[in-house]
């Protein structure tokens, strides 16, 4: 990777921002798992593995499984955010291996929410325009 100068950095930011905001155009599905120490202690790694296994088994090829830090709902971890076209962005709480399988089957394949495990994002991300 070449060293950046300021113009490269700005260009990269704009490209990346577009990429991050591109939600409903093509068929990309994102599964984002909160993997801070608190999430991992609550079993996020097991959930992560279960997602990988379930996605492999389902022959879906446009799913991206990503990790992120603590979302702040430590009482309800592991937390998982699912973003996909045709469905509102959804956060699930207390996701263990079984629920992970259900999310793949019901939310992603059948496009219906897994009731009882939906968690609503209670705070607004304030750094606007991002």
């Amino acid at each position: 990777m070449a060293k950046l100068n300021l113009d490269d950095l700005k260009k990269m930011r704009d490209e990346k921002r577009r990429e991050m905001n591109r939600r409903d155009t093509d068929k990309s599905i994102e599964i984002i798992i909160g993997m801070g120490t608190c999430g991992i202690a609550a079993g996020a790694k097991e959930a992560f593995d279960a997602f990988v296994t379930a996605i492999d088994a389902s022959n879906l090829d446009d799913v991206m499984i990503k990790q992120t830090g603590c979302m702040g709902f430590c009482a309800n971890e592991p937390t998982v955010e699912v973003r996909m076209p045709e469905m509102p962005d959804t956060i699930y709480n207390n996701v263990d291996a079984t629920i992970a399988e259900r999310i793949v089957k019901e939310h992603i394949l059948e496009q219906k929410m897994v009731s009882e495990y939906v968690f609503d994002k209670p705070s607004v991300d304030i750094v606007d325009g991002q």
Partner: protein
């Protein structure tokens, strides 16, 4: 077959006890009655954390937010909103003092109670992917500083922002930088990130480093440019392996992109960072002890002055900042000091991250503007006390802090107000206690911690802390007298005046705090030999009410020392001479037959 609409019903504890189940059933019925089950899904969700306005129903994709819904409202919500697409205005949330109902969660004041600056990226980006950080404006502030601002401009911007150190003491951040910058004629300066978070129950720094490591790297580079340093250290305890790993990944990526190392972003500014692992001694969070530890010596404090910004690491000017303080800096540079100043209170601008733990329904990591009240934090964001128990006190500031009681729940939280209440901001651990917690027991825990963590270099802390602990121990055993309480003041006074560093100076705080706010509870331990909460082992005894006991044998099976005897279906008995007062029998008995006295 995709659904077109989703109706979310809150099934959290608060809403559930408030007819949540019935509302759910009515909504399902209404959806079926309209024959739209294949288009609309009714979903039970976790707590929105807005209990005072519950039960809550939210309809997606419009994000309409209905509050105080009753089962009778369900048919109307479905018929009007879902079928005809008209919002039901009378149930939409109205801001206090606002005429117009708001239907979007994002414009509601309640959700503005949390305001994320430090945690802006936590839970949104992949911490191990620098591109995502850049995509959310990362490293732009560093670019701006290197190309457009002089060191004095940066200090001016921070001065305008009013940012004060988030490690606990609240020292103005611009001043620290300005001291270091002002030292001339030295060949080397340093910036240090203090990630030695050690307060019991606090984990906000760890979460920030795990969720957004690049923000700390960027802030350190900005600070280094400001004071003229080319080397930085991150001092972090080895107990945080994940944070360390993510920092290392982040530093490597930053080097690859030329954001760390020589000639950053093509300018003539060079800066690099090393990680230094601490062994987890609490005193190493004190800046002079931290500096000793980085130098490879024992982590013990040294007298100040000279202050580290002037004479620190290896005798060179060293700017030590806490993780949370640093995380604010890129945002202040990006949005300007004036923008930051508007958040929070007159004297303390910005936000504070709290690790909300203890007997609260939604424990977690929250970030609120300074000036938010404890009531808002515990009851609105935290969802109230577990199991509907009564709130007793909140402990802030860890072993250096004190308790805040019911009567002060509405005090706006900032540095000065907390000190006035005899507590302190500290690093941001916020531990909620309910009626079952004994104030003596909790304070003893903190004292035990401080005594353990005292480095022993100065006698006021080494001896005074131990003496205070002994007095508390006597109180909890019921063998203390009123004279013992008189001694507390004298010892505390000596420790505050004569201890070498902040650890010793603040060790008496938890004791003084309960002496002030919980005098009655303290003296019932001393005079009546009673622990009202039933936590102090020596003052409590368990017995079985033969009337209520049905002889299910559960307690006998759970008892760790086998001191409960009795035949099946006969009243059981506890052998008091063997009992260790663990309270297991009291917890497991389903018939309230075990009596705590």
């Amino acid at each position: 077959m995709a659904y077109k609409s989703f109706i979310l019903v809150c099934a959290g504890t608060g809403c559930h006890s408030n007819m949540g189940e019935e509302i759910y059933n009515e909504l399902v019925k209404a959806v079926e009655a309209h024959n739209i089950s294949q288009d609309v899904q009714v979903v039970k969700t976790g707590c929105f954390g807005f209990c005072e306005q519950g039960p809550i129903v939210k309809i997606l994709p419009e994000e309409a937010f209905y509050v105080k819904v009753t089962p009778d409202d369900a048919p109307e919500l479905v018929a009007e909103h879902v079928v005809k697409g008209r919002q039901v205005d009378r149930l939409l949330y109205k801001e206090p003092g606002m005429e117009k109902a708001s239907n979007k969660i994002d414009d509601m004041g309640f959700y503005q109670k949390q305001f994320r600056i430090v945690l802006r990226n936590c839970g949104f980006i992949n911490p191990e992917d620098i591109d995502e950080y850049i995509g959310r404006n990362g490293y732009q502030s560093l670019g701006k500083v290197l190309t457009e601002l002089s060191p004095d401009d940066v200090i001016e911007e921070l001065k305008k922002s009013g940012l004060r150190g988030r490690g606990g003491a609240g020292f103005p951040s611009w001043m620290k930088l300005s001291f270091s910058k002002g030292v001339t004629g030295v060949d080397q300066k340093y910036v240090v990130c203090n990630a030695d978070e050690g307060d019991p129950g606090a984990y906000m720094d760890r979460s920030t480093l795990e969720g957004d490591p690049h923000s700390i790297i960027e802030a350190m580079a900005i600070n280094a440019y400001t004071i003229g340093a080319d080397k930085g250290f991150i001092y972090i305890r080895a107990e945080y392996p994940l944070a360390i790993e993510r920092l290392e990944v982040a530093m490597k990526q930053a080097r690859d992109y030329g954001l760390l190392g020589d000639n950053i972003l093509g300018t003539d500014f060079s800066f690099d960072i090393e990680i230094r692992l601490g062994a987890g001694a609490f005193v190493c969070g004190e800046e002079t002890a931290l500096i000793s530890s980085i130098e490879g010596k024992r982590g013990v404090p040294t007298p100040r002055p000279p202050f580290p910004p002037v004479k620190g690491l290896w005798g060179k000017p060293t700017c030590v900042n806490n993780v949370e303080t640093l995380a604010n800096i890129p945002v202040i540079i990006e949005k300007g000091g004036d923008w930051f100043k508007k958040i929070g209170t007159e004297k303390t601008s910005g936000t504070k991250v709290f690790a909300l733990t203890g007997k609260v329904n939604n424990s977690g990591l929250i970030e609120v503007p300074m000036g938010t009240t404890l009531r808002e934090i515990i009851f609105d964001i935290g969802g109230g006390i577990k199991d509907g128990k009564k709130f007793k006190a909140a402990q802030t500031g860890g072993p250096s802090g004190g308790v805040i009681t019911e009567e002060h729940l509405d005090t706006p939280i900032d540095f000065d107000n907390l000190v006035a209440l005899g507590s302190m901001m500290g690093s941001g651990g916020l531990i909620v206690m309910d009626e079952d917690d004994c104030i003596v027991d909790v304070t003893k825990f903190y004292l035990d911690f401080s005594v353990d963590e005292s480095c022993g270099k100065c006698s006021p802390c080494r001896i005074g802390g131990r003496k205070l602990y002994d007095i508390l121990d006597k109180i909890s055993k019921g063998s203390a007298t009123a004279e013992d309480v008189d001694k507390i003041d004298a010892i505390a006074e000596a420790m505050k005046k004569a201890s070498l560093c902040g650890l010793g100076q603040t060790t008496p705080n938890p004791v003084l705090s309960i002496l002030h706010y919980f005098r009655d509870e303290l003296f019932s331990h001393i005079n009546e030999k009673v622990c009202p909460a039933g936590k102090c082992k020596d003052l409590v005894s368990f017995s079985i009410d033969a009337e209520k006991c049905i002889g299910c044998t559960l307690c006998a099976r759970k008892c760790p020392v086998n001191c409960i005897s009795g035949a099946k279906r006969q009243a059981h008995e506890i052998d008091q001479s063997q009992c260790v007062k663990c309270g297991e029998c009291f917890t497991v008995c389903k018939f309230d037959a075990v009596v705590k006295a």
